[in-house]
Subunit: 181 residues, 2 copies
DNA sequence: TCCTAACATGTAATTAATTACATGTTTAAG
DNA sequence: CTTAAACATGTAATTAATTACATGTTAGGA
């Protein structure tokens, strides 16, 4: 059999991305370096084999094209069955609260007293990191969604970018609360 | 060889938990159902083999004990080498921003317009979920840290619980912002 | 024209993580 | 006294994910 498990979220991300427009595996891999990368990560070595399995399962198809002289590309598109699967997934409830797997938080947990001299440098390091990320995300919001009209064309994308920004803002605020600068 | 990769965070959690007090594999597995479960998850089937490998690596040792008539237990403790490894890990910088892997957010991303009728029910479902989680965490804070004295004895634990509460509070606030009730 | 970065696609090997299988003990409630 | 839940430890099978290996093309700048 070797079918794809229902808990494999990457397949749904691929379906969703292909629903936006036909794309190559390379294009999909690049999407994880951009906006979707805030919420999921995947390398091309995971994407190419999965594309094949999804095609075998009849959810996507590809068309071979050639760029320039002989650079082979596979342009993937959703089949009706793949589109149905995407719609079903989005419509399902999402009752799971996934733990955040934040290594810094994990380290904090093992610090015993508020006198530990490592706490302040750790907080400062994280503040710098999350402040940088916040700046980056705010920049993206301005460039990707300059007008309300653009927001409405990719409303979900706008929502999750707004969510990511709030998350970073709150993280920064929380860190600041415990910084004794 | 078959040594344990530096990116395997579970090993550090185990070191950290054993540093608090000697424990069995069963105790460690239970810790992931409680406070640490907010930030990491692991099943006993992952823990037992890792304990063995960590013992082989000289980071922990165990003492066989018997509870009651004949129930065998393995009480694990840190070796000096394991303690050093824990201290090193906590002291290292944590420069990685791990993506949150939130399935609801992922689904939102693929919704095109603010007119989509699925948005409001999805927001309501998530609000209920995160509100429940928030209530749960606030309850835990009151029972686990009733006084300031207790806070100081497990300050890191207090910090991450406070962080988790803020995170849920902010998530709830964000969801409410887009709910048109 | 040379070289480098980006484009493009794949496989192999390894590790991490989950789910299922498997067994036995102890405690406390009914 | 029976039984169910919690205690306790492991392995097997599978899937997910990362890192490394492997190859070749195209566009653009120096």
């Amino acid at each position: 059999m070797a079918s794809i498990g229902q808990r494999n979220r990457l397949q749904y991300i691929i379906l969703g991305l292909l629903n936006q427009r036909p794309q190559t595996g390379y294009d999909l891999a690049k999407a994880f370096e951009n906006e979707i990368g805030e919420f999921w990560q995947a390398q091309h070595s995971q994407i190419y084999p999965l594309l094949r399995r999804m095609e075998d399962a009849g959810e996507i198809t590809h068309e071979d094209t050639v760029a320039g002289e002989k650079l082979a590309k596979k342009q993937y598109t959703l089949t009706p069955s793949g589109h149905d699967k995407l719609v079903d997934w989005v419509s399902e409830p999402s009752p799971e609260l996934t733990p955040s797997k934040d290594e810094f938080i994990l380290k904090l947990y093992f610090i015993k007293t508020d006198k530990d001299p490592r706490i302040q440098p750790m907080l400062r390091e994280q503040l710098r990191l999350h402040q940088t990320q916040l700046d980056h995300l705010e920049g993206r919001l301005k460039t990707v969604f300059p007008t309300d009209a653009v927001k409405q064309q990719a409303y979900g994308h706008y929502l999750i970018l707004d969510h990511a920004i709030e998350r970073e803002r709150d993280y920064v605020a929380w860190l600041s609360k415990y910084l004794t600068d």
